[in-house]
Structures are given as structure tokens and as C-alpha cells.
């Protein structure tokens, strides 16, 4: 990182950009740790949601699934569904009863399992109801994520296979990665936008420019502090989730590490939004509204609380365009399915594309003075 400044007239040796960057990172980190809003956004909010869902959910959201009369019930499909602990199977009702219950949303879906003709495989038919779209969506992702086993593969060619079976999928397993994503999003966007706008407006940056520090050092120093802070927050959330609410970490520490690596990618992308906002906001009071334009849709539509499958189909393309969707998705796969980073390369690629686009804009609109 040394360049051009090696000839110090004071004879004190070369000027070190690394020293300057680290001094800034340290200062920024201290400042963040003392700023109540940063701590609230990064830790308190996500933890409150996790507590609420952790206690409310207990064993998890309950999804009532009707078993169609005449369906085969002694098969691995039904067995695995009941093992999730999240799904309650409703049996012994007539088709007419089920139709009414489905219509009212009193059962969330109906399932019908049959042995395929001339085959050891089963065919599974799931009927969802528009009266219970959100739970139907959860069921769908449960089916996708948890349930289909390699041995059942031939029957479910139309549904994505998953490597995990029969592991209990708790509410916390869904909620925590979403909260983690939200924590990274708000830290990245709000924190970065506020800090650069206020450093610019209070002429802190102007004073910095009277020192030999490089602009890149200022940006990198701030980024190191913010990423460090966000990751400490993430680690804290993961550990509380794991030890107090049984958050599933398939490969233990390795899974945590993978989640933190994903988190780093996420926060870097989100900080890009923050850089843009700090450039276009004229005053500090403009930061929250503009930031909300970025964070709220992602908070609501990126599968923070509900699986995006639960959304009406016209909303889903929007969900699928948002970077947080892919971060959440990748986090859940890594944490619950035990995927490695290579398995979520698609999600990482989308984040990368977002990163490139966002930083291309940020370079254009960012203001130093």
C-alpha cells in the first residue's frame, strides 16, 4: 500500500498508508462502539426478533397438512414430514371436509402420496391454499429444503433435491439467518451513509485532507471498522441463537466461519448503498428516508420473516431481484443444510453482480466535500 510518499523531508522514514488506514479503522471502531444507534441496529433489533420468535415459535411454526383420504400413509414421505416437528398431519377427514378447511385456511395444505405404478418410488401431490399462502410457502420450502431425500429422487424430479433429511427445522433456523441479513443490511446502509455524510458536513474529512492520508485509506479504514463491528455482531447473534435457541449449525465452527464469510460479502455490498446515500443526501435528516427506500423493501421482501415463496407470484420477481434475498438464502443453506460456499456460488455470484453495479454507481455519486 506504499506509494509515492517515501521521501519524507523530516527524515522520519517513509510515510505509511497502512498505519494511517489502521489508525482510522481504530478510531472509527471506537466511535461505532460508542454510538447507541449502531449497537441498536446491529444487535438489539435482531436479538429482539430472535427472542420473540424464539419463545413464540418454540418448536417452530405449526403447519397443518391434511392427508388426503386414500393416501398411502406408511411411507418415508409422511414419516419425514411428521419428523420435522413443524408439521401436524391431519387425517381421518373426508375430502369434502378438507375442501372446506382448505378454503378457510384451517388447514394449510393437503398432501397425497401414492406409490408409483411399477416403481418403488412415490409420487407426492401437494395442494396449497390461497387462504394460507404464508404457511403454504413455508411448507414448500420445508419440502424443498428438508424433506426430499435422495432415495425419493425419481419421484420428485420437478422439485429441487436437497441433501438434508429429517433434521428438525425450527423457526429459529429460518428466522436467525434473516435477522442476521437484516442486521448486516442496516449496519451497512445506515452506518455508512451517516458516517460519511457527517464526516463531510462537520468538516472532519476536510481536516483529514490537510494530513498526508489518502482517500483510499479513509474509505478502507472506515470499511474495516464497520465490517469488523458487523461481524462481531453477527457472531454474537449466531452464538446466542445456537446456545439459547438451538439454532442449527450443521458443521459447527466451520458453518459459523462460512456464515461470517458470507456476511462479509453481504456487508460490503450493503455499504455500497451507504456510500451512494451519503453522496445524494443533502442533510442528515435525509439519510433515514433514503436508507429506508433501500432497506425496507429488502427487509420485507427478501425472506427475512417469511419464505419468499409465501408471496403472491407477482411479487416474487421483485424478491428475486434483491441482494438480501440471496444473502438470506445462502445463509440458510450454509447453516441448515450444511452447504459449503461452493454450493451457494449462484447466490454469491448474484451478490457479486450487485456489488459491481452498486460500487460503479457509488464511485460516481460519492462526494468528498
Amino acid at each position: 500500500m506504499n506509494d509515492g510518499n517515501s521521501s519524507s523531508p523530516l527524515g522520519t522514514g517513509g510515510y505509511s498508508n497502512t498505519t494511517a488506514t489502521l489508525a482510522l479503522a481504530k478510531a472509527s471502531f471506537r466511535s461505532i462502539m460508542r454510538s447507541p444507534s449502531a449497537v441498536v441496529f446491529t444487535l438489539a433489533f435482531p436479538l429482539i426478533f430472535i427472542l420473540v420468535f424464539g419463545f413464540l415459535g418454540g418448536g417452530g411454526t405449526r403447519i397443518d397438512v391434511g392427508v388426503k383420504p386414500g393416501s398411502d400413509i406408511n411411507n418415508p414421505v409422511i414419516a419425514m414430514l411428521s419428523k420435522t416437528g413443524m408439521i401436524r398431519l391431519v387425517m381421518d377427514k373426508s375430502q369434502a371436509d378438507f375442501d372446506k378447511l382448505l378454503e378457510k385456511g384451517n388447514v394449510d395444505a393437503m398432501i397425497d402420496v401414492h406409490k408409483k405404478v411399477n416403481s418403488v418410488a412415490y409420487s407426492v401431490n401437494v395442494v396449497y391454499t390461497s387462504a394460507s399462502r404464508d404457511k403454504g410457502g413455508i411448507l414448500k420450502s420445508v419440502l424443498n429444503n428438508v424433506f426430499y431425500d435422495k432415495t425419493l429422487k425419481p419421484t420428485v424430479a420437478e422439485i429441487k433435491e436437497s441433501t438434508i433429511t429429517g433434521r428438525e427445522y425450527k423457526t429459529i433456523d429460518f428466522i436467525l439467518p434473516g435477522q442476521l441479513g437484516f442486521s448486516l443490511l442496516s449496519t451497512g446502509v445506515f452506518g455508512t451513509a451517516f458516517v460519511f455524510l457527517s464526516l463531510r458536513q462537520t468538516l472532519v474529512i476536510k481536516r483529514f485532507f490537510a494530513t498526508p492520508v489518502k482517500r483510499s485509506s479513509i474509505v478502507i479504514g472506515e470499511a474495516i471498522a464497520r465490517i469488523g463491528f458487523a461481524l462481531i455482531g453477527a457472531l454474537f447473534i449466531i452464538l446466542i441463537g445456537h446456545f439459547f435457541f438451538g439454532f442449527t449449525l450443521v458443521h459447527g465452527a466451520l458453518t459459523v466461519l462460512n456464515m461470517l464469510i458470507l456476511g462479509t460479502m453481504g456487508i460490503i455490498v450493503f455499504m455500497g448503498f451507504g456510500f451512494i446515500i451519503s453522496g445524494i443526501a443533502k442533510t442528515e435528516s435525509m439519510v433515514p428516508p433514503i436508507s429506508n427506500i433501500v432497506t425496507l423493501p429488502q427487509f420485507l421482501l427478501s425472506g427475512t420473516f417469511f419464505s419468499i415463496e409465501a408471496f403472491p407470484s407477482w411479487l416474487q420477481p421483485i424478491s428475486r431481484a434483491l441482494p438480501l434475498t440471496y444473502l438470506n438464502d445462502a445463509m440458510r443453506k450454509v447453516a441448515f443444510e450444511g452447504s459449503g460456499l461452493w454450493d451457494v456460488k449462484f447466490q454469491i455470484m448474484i451478490l457479486l453482480i450487485w456489488g459491481i453495479v452498486i460500487y460503479a454507481i457509488a464511485v460516481k455519486v460519492f462526494k468528498w466535500e
Partner: protein
């Protein structure tokens, strides 16, 4: 003073803000180890000129050399040998004075003891205070402490004594003289003529972006007297400031 080596040389400096010409062809030299004053009414272009020399603003035209470095070609080299107190500046939020000094030490790549820097401006008791919690005069003193961190060859002080009480002002003069005696060149702006008279080896009067006079305070006063100028009223042996100092003592105030 005898050698009269120009450490700063400004030639035909012009600065336009859109159509408005704030600085119109300024030329002057600052000699090594002198205290040089830029005086003049509000909006004369003093801050603009200083900030161009400090490499913080772009000039429209002209040539500036600071200790052999050109502002166009070697701004980084200039930044390493100057200390800057801005007329308006802020400091990183949520940090106390010691932490701020540590930050600047990192930015300058200087190895210093933060407490020693604070002692120079008599702020050691405020080491753990936040910048925001300082009084106006304490803020000025802290700003001056930050200009000394990299042991600069030249320091620029833009209205360092504005808002200070008479004691603090006098003590700051002592500090500035001590800094100069340690071998540093000082460029200062002020609206207090008594201060300029006491402190500055030479002063330049700037009006509407042009230098209208440049000489030692003594010579300028003599010229005026020789032109037949007389004060309207016989001056008393003391003034109100002397009364203030006499009543309240000479020490720095918290």
C-alpha cells in the same frame, strides 16, 4: 530573519468561484522562521489563500512553492511538512482528546505522546473529554495542538484567537512565539491588530483579493505617522484589556 529565505512563495495567485474572483493575482513570500500575518476585512480572501497553499483548494492560476514543493506536483510532500488549523473544522465524533491525537498521529505517521501534545496547549486535564464538550477557546487550543503533531516546518493558523478570552489569547501568543522559536514558520490570520502588532514579523493587508500593503508592523505604522496621521484622542496609559487582565489574572482558564 537576516537570511530571508523564502519558505513559501506565492506568485500571481488567482482564485475564481464561478464568476466571482475571490483572489486577484496575489504575490508574496513568507520567510523561513518568521511569523507572517495575513490581515484584512471579512471576505478579503485570506482563508481562500491559506487553503490553496495548504493544498485543500484548487487554484485558478498562479504558482505556489512551499519549501521547494509545488502545490500542483507535490501536494503530498507539502502536507507532510505543514500543520493546519482551519477556520472551521470538525473532529471525529465520539472520541476523546487523547484518542483524537492518536488518530492524527496515525494519519501523519508521527510517533508522539498524546499527553505531551495536550500539555503544550494546557489541555492535559481535558484528556478524557470529548471535543464537543470543550469550550470555544479550548477547541481552538486543541486545534493548535493537532497542528503540531507532525513537527511541521510551517504552521497555518486561521484566526486562532477568535473567541478567546484575553488571558487565553496572550497565552496563545506565548505558545505561538515558542513554536516559532523552536524553528517553525508561522502563517496567521487575525482580526486583532494589537495581536498582529505584537506577534507578526511582517504583515500583508489583503482587500478584495489583492495585497494593498506588505511590511513589518513598525514600518507600516511609521509610514502612516509620517503621512501626518494622528490619533484623535490622547491614549490613556492603560486600556480596558489591561483592566481585564489585571482583575482576572494571567492564567489559562478552563
Amino acid at each position: 530573519m537576516e537570511a530571508k529565505n523564502a519558505i513559501i512563495s506565492v506568485k500571481e495567485l488567482v482564485k475564481k468561484y464561478d464568476d466571482f474572483v475571490a483572489v486577484q493575482g496575489l504575490s508574496f513570500d513568507v520567510y523561513e522562521n518568521e511569523i507572517f500575518g495575513l490581515l484584512g476585512p471579512n471576505g478579503a480572501g485570506k482563508t481562500t489563500t491559506l487553503e490553496i497553499i495548504e493544498t485543500l483548494r484548487a487554484k485558478t492560476s498562479g504558482e505556489i512553492i512551499v519549501d521547494g514543493f509545488s502545490v500542483d506536483k507535490n501536494p503530498q510532500d507539502i502536507k507532510q511538512i505543514i500543520g493546519v488549523q482551519l477556520q472551521a473544522a470538525g473532529y471525529y465524533p465520539n472520541l476523546n482528546l487523547v484518542e483524537l491525537i492518536e488518530l492524527f498521529a496515525g494519519l501523519y505517521g508521527a510517533k508522539i505522546k498524546p499527553m505531551e501534545m495536550l500539555e503544550k496547549v494546557n489541555l492535559q486535564d481535558k484528556a478524557k473529554a470529548k471535543y464537543k464538550a470543550l469550550s470555544g477557546g479550548q477547541k481552538q487550543r486543541f486545534s493548535i495542538a493537532t497542528t503540531l503533531i507532525n513537527q511541521p516546518k510551517i504552521i497555518f493558523l486561521d484566526e486562532p484567537t477568535t473567541g478567546l478570552d484575553p488571558q487565553a489569547r496572550r497565552n496563545l501568543w506565548d505558545l505561538i512565539i515558542a513554536i516559532r522559536n523552536a524553528g517553525t514558520t508561522v502563517v496567521i490570520t487575525t482580526h486583532y491588530m494589537d495581536e498582529a502588532e505584537q506577534l507578526c514579523d511582517r504583515v500583508a493587508f489583503v482587500e478584495r483579493g489583492q495585497i494593498i500593503a506588505l511590511d513589518t508592523p513598525d514600518n507600516l505604522i511609521d509610514q502612516l505617522v509620517n503621512s501626518g496621521f494622528e490619533r484623535k484622542k490622547e491614549v490613556k496609559k492603560a486600556n480596558l484589556e489591561d483592566v481585564f487582565i489585571n482583575l482576572t489574572g494571567k492564567e489559562w482558564r478552563e
